[in-house]
């Protein structure tokens, strides 16, 4: 195990972490502000990736695919919010889970009908297809570095949006006292629709970014959805800062366990059983990590309404 390998894996962890953050930021906004558990967030991620893959496939331009996928998914999300989800804000979490579970079934099947059961390919932009020498003797794919940069930009953008703009002020006010904001003459319904649109847009962004790295296939949103929930729970529900820290932690834990556990176990176990044990431990690592965090802090690292 060379230091370069360790740095490379840490970069992989950061890349996964920032992708999880983009996904988790949308989920935690909707959760924290509207108090809505939206399992269909994973479907929006999938829709974003599929729209981008088909547009990019037809036009040959990844960026065009991204630029089409973001508004389309945001509109799908806003339509969902206006037709179904806004009726669920006052319901308990169980109702929300079930209704959005039904939506997952619907969108998975619809995607299968429109795009067929086979996975699509989405190539990253050609001008990011090379590798960059981040350290002497360590070159790293430019596309993955771009994901890290985009994650940083989104983090900064959300910080400015929430703490410096009028919309952010309304968002914060609406989260702490919905009726008061409505009484002051703000159209809270359309505010919520916009917030949901932002969340859907972030999900689509995560989906498109993930496209060139993972497969664009039906059900792709579900594995990431569950990991995203782990991020949100670890970070603290409703906290964008928590989503960032939680995303990075989970990304690092997952990547480093997958990369290094086999080495560690091989030092004292025969290779065959070492690989089996480390593979199963690695896939469970983030859940174990979450359990440890929650035993220490039941409300997560940065509870928004502490």
């Amino acid at each position: 195990m060379s230091p370069l390998l360790i740095i490379e894996q840490l970069l992989n962890g950061l890349q996964l972490g920032f992708m999880l953050f983009v996904m988790a930021a949308g989920l935690t906004l909707v959760l924290g502000i509207m108090n809505l558990v939206n399992l269909a967030h994973g479907s929006l991620y999938m829709i974003g990736a599929f729209v981008a893959a088909s547009v990019a496939g037809a036009s040959g331009s990844f960026v065009l695919g991204l630029l089409v996928a973001l508004p389309v998914t945001a509109l799908v999300g806003m339509a969902l919010e206006m037709t179904v989800l806004r009726r669920l804000y006052e319901r308990d979490h169980l109702d929300q889970v079930l209704a959005t579970f039904g939506m997952i079934l619907f969108f998975n099947e619809l995607t299968k009908i429109i795009w067929g059961p086979r996975a699509l390919f989405l190539d990253g932009p050609r001008w990011l297809a090379h590798s960059i020498e981040v350290l002497p003797d360590l070159s790293y794919p430019a596309y993955r570095l771009a994901i890290i940069v985009i994650g940083l930009v989104i983090a900064a953008g959300l910080y400015v949006l929430i703490s410096k703009t009028r919309l952010g002020m309304l968002i914060r006010a609406g989260a702490s006292d919905r009726e008061m904001v409505a009484a002051l003459g703000v159209n809270i319904k359309s505010l919520y629709t916009w917030i949901f649109g932002i969340g859907a847009l972030l999900a689509a962004l995560a989906g498109v970014l993930a496209g060139p790295i993972y497969a664009v296939e039906v059900g792709m949103g579900e594995d990431i959805l569950i990991i995203t929930f782990v991020v949100v729970i670890v970070g603290g529900i409703g906290s964008v800062r928590g989503a960032l820290i939680g995303g990075l932690l989970i990304g690092l834990v997952d990547t480093t366990c997958r990369a290094f556990l086999p080495f560690i176990f091989r030092t004292f176990l025969p290779p065959s059983s070492a690989d089996g044990i480390s593979a199963s431990l690695a896939s469970m690592s983030i859940y174990i990590f979450m359990a440890i965090i929650l035993t220490w802090r039941p409300k997560g690292l940065f509870p928004a309404h502490a």
């Binding site: 558990v37 889970v97 209704a99 529900i237 859940y287 359990a291 409300k299």
Partner: protein, 326 residues
């Protein structure tokens, strides 16, 4: 009382079904009915914590899958004659239902104890997501168990042996399952009116008040969670026998969602709700899948509509209409 009449009617159907199916040459119906009973059992177990205890577990398939895997793993070791464990005590495989099924319940209960002890430190939304996360963890655990089939799953050589009963015979297996469901329903009907059941429902309605009254609510909730987990383990043991196959897909999170749907569809916190819910859900699935291969496209929106407009569930509204309270 009308509900008594309805119950008698259902009993006649339940007892007469295998004979009618055999006479009519539609033997596959027995299999469907058995499956329905098993899902009803899983629903009953989930209803105990969600409906009576107010703990929304989104990871119930884990205990179901653990029960199924215990049966399959013990059966594989019995088949090959190699012991499952040599140390600290030697455990050899078995195919006896009297050994394996209680063991399935015990192992599921043990997992429920550990998982519940951690999850119940949180509440509300976190609880939903943490139970889901633990179920995923166990799902990945079984996926990586390559000596027991890994992702492909594991076939049973034969069903468990149960003394004079021949479980390979679908009719006898059906009646055993039916008897177990009735037994569990009876026990649950006693449980929910017992002191324990009253306290549990009190916690569901207002936990801080129960705490103020001096009840150790955490312990009550954990006990209910463990009972529920072990019953789900029993349901898992039964499904492994029925399908003679287990795989990680038994623990898939879709399965946990399905169990919640069954409970809601039937009516939360009602005794017979999960049975009605399991029946309605499986029949709906059977019916829709015959109409179109894209039946999920219809099922999804139906779930949304049920949540939005039929909150009481089928049994809930049915029993209300008939003026009975259970």
């Amino acid at each position: 009382m009308p509900s008594r009449i309805a119950l008698a009617f259902v009993s006649i159907i339940a007892i007469g079904l295998p004979f009618a199916a055999a006479a009519g040459g539609e033997d596959y119906l027995i299999g469907i009915a058995t499956r329905l009973m098993i899902f009803a059992l899983a629903g009953i177990s989930l209803n105990l914590i969600v409906g009576y205890g107010g703990m929304v577990s989104f990871g119930h398939a884990a205990f179901f899958g653990i029960g199924a895997y215990v049966v399959a793993i013990m059966s594989q070791h019995a088949l090959y004659g190699d012991p499952l464990l040599l140390w600290p005590v030697e455990i050899s495989g078995s195919e006896s239902a009297l050994v394996v099924w209680p063991l399935a319940m015990a192992v599921a209960a043990l997992f429920a104890l550990v998982i519940g002890a951690i999850c119940l430190r949180t509440g509300g939304l976190s609880f939903i997501m943490i139970t889901l996360a633990f179920a995923q963890m166990i799902y990945f655990f079984f996926t990586s168990l390559s000596e027991y089939g890994g992702e492909d799953g594991l076939s049973l050589f034969q069903r468990s042996s149960a003394g004079p009963l021949d479980l390979a015979d679908d009719t006898q297996f059906y009646f055993l399952t039916l008897a177990l469901v009735i037994l569990v329903l009876f026990l649950q009907s006693r449980l929910v009116v017992s002191r324990f059941g009253r306290v549990l429902q009190g916690i569901r309605d207002n936990e801080s008040r129960m705490q103020a009254l001096g009840y150790p609510t955490y312990r009550y909730k954990l006990t209910a969670f463990v009972i529920s987990g072990s019953l789900a383990g029993l349901a898992g043991a039964l499904i492994a026998n029925q399908t003679e196959f287990v795989s990680p897909s038994f623990l898939d999170w879709h399965r946990s969602g399905e169990f919640l749907v069954i409970v809601i569809l039937g009516g939360l916190g009602t005794l017979f709700g999960p049975v009605v819910g399991a029946g309605a859900y499986l029949l709906l699935e059977e019916f829709l899948s015959q109409v179109t291969e894209h039946w999920m496209l219809i099922l999804g929106p139906i779930l949304v509509l049920i949540v939005l407009f039929a909150k009481q569930g089928l049994w809930g509204s049915l029993s209300r209409r008939m003026g009975s309270h259970d």
